[in-house]
């Protein structure tokens, strides 16, 4: 289990992480969501005891990371894929890590096999692709067979096959009863992988809930209607209290009233319905909506601003 209590980190005047409190439960994958620069990595480093919080505390299994007797055996982390000496082989890197926590050498071969790096384990890590580095980082995190895992952007640099592999691995780890906390700025990936969600923007907690609840509570049910007479239907639905947006192609986007009411109203008015479909907002849209105010680095398409 991971928990943060009033966790804050300030760099000069910038509050990178601002009074963050949340809990990550065991047995499911918890996604840690936020735009780039929202404080995800800083939070993870504070959980790992690498960065000192300005205020608040973070706990792994109820203890501060510095109080864990066998750190690698309790918590594994993939913080940056490049945390490897380029001149050292993958195997030596893992052996050195294993020795710190009395982990048997056989386990090194096991994790190399698990991440599919056995064939290249003697090669210098500096010659690895981004994806291979990511796999080596995952191997490092799994080395001590820890009950708590933190992955910062684990699918970065992986090909589609690699992404599927990571997803299945994470799910298997969670199913074994581990705590799996993964950060991402990709909402779509979280929708596929995570059960729980911790969402932050500009270092502040935006949501701490399940993926399902997050979508439900942040979307307005919208129904798309195509009919034989858009303008008349518009009037009829408006009369029922619906909020209607007419689209260019003649269809209507209706909120506040549901599909049943729309269908019944159309029938009694003698208007033929050609399409009636509820619109599911994607996690991506919900997230964009929620964090649009808290994105630090807006892109610009303004030529003047760019010059």
């Amino acid at each position: 289990m991971i928990s943060a209590v009033g966790l804050s980190k300030q760099y000069g005047k910038t509050k990178a992480v601002d009074d963050l409190s949340f809990e990550v439960r065991t047995g499911v994958i918890t996604g840690f969501l936020g735009p780039n620069g929202s404080g995800k990595s800083t939070t993870m480093r504070m959980i790992m005891g690498l960065d000192r919080p300005t205020a608040g505390k973070a706990f792994v299994n109820g203890k501060k990371c510095q109080e864990l007797k066998w750190p690698l055996r309790e918590v594994g982390a993939l913080l940056e894929a490049k945390s490897i000496h380029p001149g050292r082989s993958a195997r030596s890197h893992l052996v050195a890590l294993a020795q710190t926590n009395s982990i048997p050498k056989a386990r090194v071969e096991e994790v190399l096999d698990l991440v599919g790096l056995s064939q290249v384990a003697s090669r210098k890590a500096g010659k690895f692709s981004l994806g291979m580095n990511q796999r080596l980082g995952i191997a490092s995190a799994l080395l001590g067979d820890p009950g708590v895992l933190l992955f910062d952007e684990p699918i970065n640099g992986l090909d589609p096959e690699g992404i599927r592999w990571v997803r299945e691995l994470l799910q298997a780890l969670a199913k074994e009863g581990r705590t799996v906390f993964i950060s991402s700025h990709l909402m779509s990936e979280m929708a596929l992988t995570a059960t729980d969600l911790v969402v932050i923007g500009r270092g502040k907690l935006i949501a701490d809930t399940t993926v399902e609840n997050f979508i439900d509570s942040n979307t307005v049910a919208t129904v798309l209607v195509r009919s034989s007479d858009s303008s008349r239907l518009n009037e009829v639905l408006a009369g029922l209290g619906g909020s209607i947006t007419a689209q260019d192609d003649g269809s209507l986007l209706v909120t506040k009233i549901d599909g049943t009411q729309i269908g019944d109203a159309a029938l009694s008015s003698g208007i033929a319905i050609h399409e009636l479909s509820p619109q599911q907002a994607s996690l991506e849209e919900v997230f964009m909506e929620l964090t649009s105010d808290s994105v630090d680095f807006h892109g610009t398409t303004d030529a003047k601003a760019a010059s």
């Binding site: 690498l50 960065d51 510095q66 109080e67 690698l72 000496h85 030596s92 710190t100 386990r107």
Partner: protein, 296 residues
């Protein structure tokens, strides 16, 4: 997908500590090529330079000035390889920590042990033991090689207690054996000098964290500081000069000429060891202070 088959040892007792961390640091140390290049340079350049300079000195003894004859110390001269090895041990000492900061590996490393000072202690043990071994091998090899060259050039052993006048007037270059007074100690301290420097550089690496920065400052302390000192008034210069790290190194290895040219410039060997050990400890403690406080 099952993730674990290997039987993991129990975590009920003990904790990740210095023993495991030291094994890990040793693995890290020997698993990169730069380590072996540095050690090879210490050995090769250390012995090679000593041999070369001794050979030149021996060949031209008959044309040497009185000053040169008076200051010739067959032990100190045999350790001329320090010119290079003292730089390389510093690079090695600094790099075993700065390379972790430049690659980000330090985050992984610090997350493996409960206490950060364990990492520093483990690195110190590894670098000290390795440099002690390589330093002593180099020192003894250089010493014996030099005495063989001197003997081959007609060098003779001066009688015990011979004055500097005898040395200056001697037609043949002086030679010593390892059993001559103070010689064994000087050769052993030659290796100790390198060990203390590597620890000083390690401390510097923890403070500066960048390889280029740490090595620049190290070279500055060792080579540039004495040059700058020359511009100070002689009173100040003379009182500070014996405490320059490079002069502490010379103080550890001179034997026969202690009473002559170097007198006043050099501390006695064990005081020199003590002073350099204090420098190393100060850098290491400062490094520890930063390690404990700064974000990784």
């Amino acid at each position: 997908m099952t993730v674990t088959h290997t039987q993991m040892p129990s975590t009920d007792h003990g904790h990740a500590g210095l023993a495991g961390e030291t094994r890990s640091e040793w693995t890290k140390f020997r698993s990169v090529r730069s380590t072996w290049i540095c050690l090879f340079i210490i050995l090769l350049a250390g012995i090679g330079l000593s041999v070369l300079l001794t050979f030149i000195q021996a060949a031209r003894w008959s044309q040497s000035s009185l000053q040169e004859r008076a200051t010739f110390d067959p032990v100190a001269f045999s350790q001329s390889g320090h010119f290079i090895s003292q730089l390389v041990v510093g690079i090695l000492g600094a790099m075993i920590i700065t390379s972790e900061y430049s690659t980000g590996l330090i985050r992984t490393t610090l997350a493996t042990v409960p206490k950060r000072y364990t990492v520093m202690a483990a690195k110190k043990i590894v670098i000290a033991v390795v440099i002690l071994v390589i330093g002593e091998v180099t020192a003894f090899a250089s010493f014996f090689a030099a005495q063989i060259i001197l003997t081959a050039h007609g060098g003779t052993e001066l009688p015990a207690g011979a004055s500097i006048v005898t040395q200056v007037k001697s037609a043949s270059i002086p030679v010593v054996t390892i059993m001559s007074p103070g010689v064994l100690q000087a050769v052993v301290l030659s290796g100790v000098y390198l060990v203390l420097l590597s620890i000083l550089a390690l401390g510097l690496g923890f403070i500066i964290r960048s390889t280029a920065g740490a090595i620049s400052i190290y070279v500055g302390i060792l080579l540039v500081l004495p040059i700058i000192l020359n511009f100070f008034p002689s009173g100040f210069k003379n009182s500070v000069e014996p405490y320059m790290p490079s002069n502490l190194g010379i103080a550890m290895v001179v034997t026969t000429t202690r009473t002559t040219d170097w007198a006043g410039v050099l501390l006695t060997p064990w005081v020199a060891v003590l002073v350099l050990a204090i420098y190393a400890a100060v850098f290491l403690l400062a490094g520890l202070w930063f390690l404990q406080r700064r974000d990784a």
